[in-house]
Symmetry: C2
Subunit: 329 residues, 2 copies
């Protein structure tokens, strides 16, 4: 299901990161980079709340938009009960729509925000998401301190808080359309191979987006997925060709772009809800504004992994929500 938006713009964004992200190749594109993973807080979860606090504060400062003039917030994160989002929202006395689409939170938030603005219900919306490496590892697999070895296919949950201000006031980045994803079962049970879990969901959404809009893949001068990593990226390319006869060119995965995979201890690359937005809001928007990319399709990918269901030996579902972004020069 693809929504075409008439007048929705991403007027401003903010990107907060931890040390691994700032030391990666895109470090200079982020607004604020922390040198440790605590940020002065007592534990990983409170540190993740702080990522969202800072993303919202940085966004309102950069955009000169006061929180009081924002109609609603839309957000979610990886913690159980989207706790980081809820605790951040406790400090912001504003209408809140909590969402859960794992690492595709960012694009689901943009689609919902765009719909509510274009539908005439809201004027100004802030969407946000976050992830924190050690908070996520502790909850989903093992505490990092445990030091268990990992396979090469493992992705590395990025640490970041990201936010975007959406409105119908003309800005440089237009939210042109959005495609809601479908929950996909790829038959994978391996919690250390999220790229394989999610690749088919990305393919399904990209294909449906092209069908719904009547576009050829060449319409976009950049296609991004997030966060398949090195191996998932290859699976997606092969699957798109074998299943849909579509050759992915001008394509990259934000999980591959965020880190220097050769030289940082990040296995197959980045993951986490922050990943797709850090790369898009930081690096890609900068290049769009400079004319390098005009039309970008961002298909963020979420592994809907539940440790409880994994313990039941069930396969891991995945979903991908995609947005089409255009620069107005």
């Amino acid at each position: 299901m693809t929504f075409k938006f008439k007048d929705v713009y991403i007027n401003e964004t903010s990107t907060i990161t931890g040390p691994y992200e700032s030391e990666g190749p895109l470090g200079k594109y982020f607004d604020l980079c922390h040198s440790d993973l605590y940020f002065g807080e007592k534990n990983w979860e409170q540190a993740e709340v702080k990522l969202i606090d800072e993303a919202i504060n940085t966004l309102t400062r950069k955009s000169k938009v006061e929180i009081n003039s924002v109609d609603a917030f839309i957000g979610g994160d990886l913690l159980n009960q989207i706790a980081a989002s809820n605790y951040a929202m406790m400090k912001v006395n504003k209408s809140f729509i909590g969402i859960y689409a794992a690492c595709s939170n960012s694009t689901l938030g943009l689609i919902l925000g765009g719909s509510l603005i274009d539908g005439g219900f809201l004027n100004k919306v802030i969407t946000f998401t976050s992830s924190h490496n050690t908070a996520a590892e502790k909850q989903y697999r093992y505490p990092v301190e445990y030091g268990g070895p990992k396979r090469k296919t493992t992705t590395f949950t990025s640490t970041g808080g990201v936010a975007a201000l959406l409105s119908n006031e003309t800005g440089k980045i237009k939210l042109e359309s959005g495609t809601l994803g479908t929950v996909i079962d790829s038959g994978v049970t391996d919690v250390f191979n999220m790229g394989a879990v999610m690749a088919k969901a990305a393919a399904d959404t990209i294909y449906k987006h092209l069908q719904d809009t009547g576009r050829d893949i060449s319409y976009y001068d950049l296609i991004l997925t997030g966060d398949l990593g090195v191996y998932g990226k290859e699976i997606l390319k092969e699957y798109m060709y074998s299943e849909y006869n579509i050759k992915l060119k001008n394509y990259n995965d934000t999980g591959v772009m965020l880190y220097d995979i050769e030289n940082q201890p990040v296995y197959a690359g980045a993951s986490g809800p922050a990943c797709a937005s850090l790369v898009t809001y930081g690096y890609v928007f900068d290049k769009m504004k400079k004319g390098k990319y005009k039309k970008v399709l961002l298909a963020a990918t979420g592994a809907l992994m539940s440790p409880t269901m994994v313990n039941h030996k069930l396969t891991i579902p995945a979903i991908s929500h995609a947005v089409s972004l255009e620069v107005i020069l």
Copy 2:
């Protein structure tokens, strides 16, 4: 933030329950009642997935609407990663919007569905939610088998799966408007007193709804909260009067209505995302169609409780999303 809807109707609903709900005073109003908590599944979580499966199947059967003609599903549940919803959606190849607002999932789903229909993005939407007593107790507090004593203020998570079909085709129940809630901190840390955690959130949303619509509380001939329970209900009434000078008449709490509190082992009454919808879709809609109630305000309440954050000694946030329902006779 209140959305007024032009043409959105709840065309059909479905209500699936466990044994405690069917043995309560509203038992005869539900579509399907199970006599145990397993429903033929191996564990509580798979049983909760089945509640959603059955709610969707019952809804499509009752409404004679095929799943293929539904544009999108909106849903969430209490399990970490809204796992019950995601695993149910894995069997339904349809666009899915995952939400998390704890026990106010149902009304958040209705507001989003209504907005997407009235905004012209979707024609037919199914919203759903679920809760399962023993799955929730195990995740949030202690496994029920542990047998720990509980305080009188404890609420009892209802077991149920509920779904609603929304469209712009005129039906008997009109979704007239919806008010998005704000995350509220009441300063409560007690995981056995969710009524106290949530009462202020309900008050905040009911008050904002009246302000936004310019209505007096007497506009509604039934005001419902879900799921404050016996003690939370009294806190709400006192708070509404002391804070806003509003006397709640024609008011009840769905957590108080679902069970026979005197004679069932349910402490302060029902809770869980299913609670508000079981009572509303089952009992209240029946009475609305028979002319007993014309205008109903349903403010479902969600305690955004995270066991991790509770272990950090933090207060428990809450949210309430409200919908205004009108019967067309």
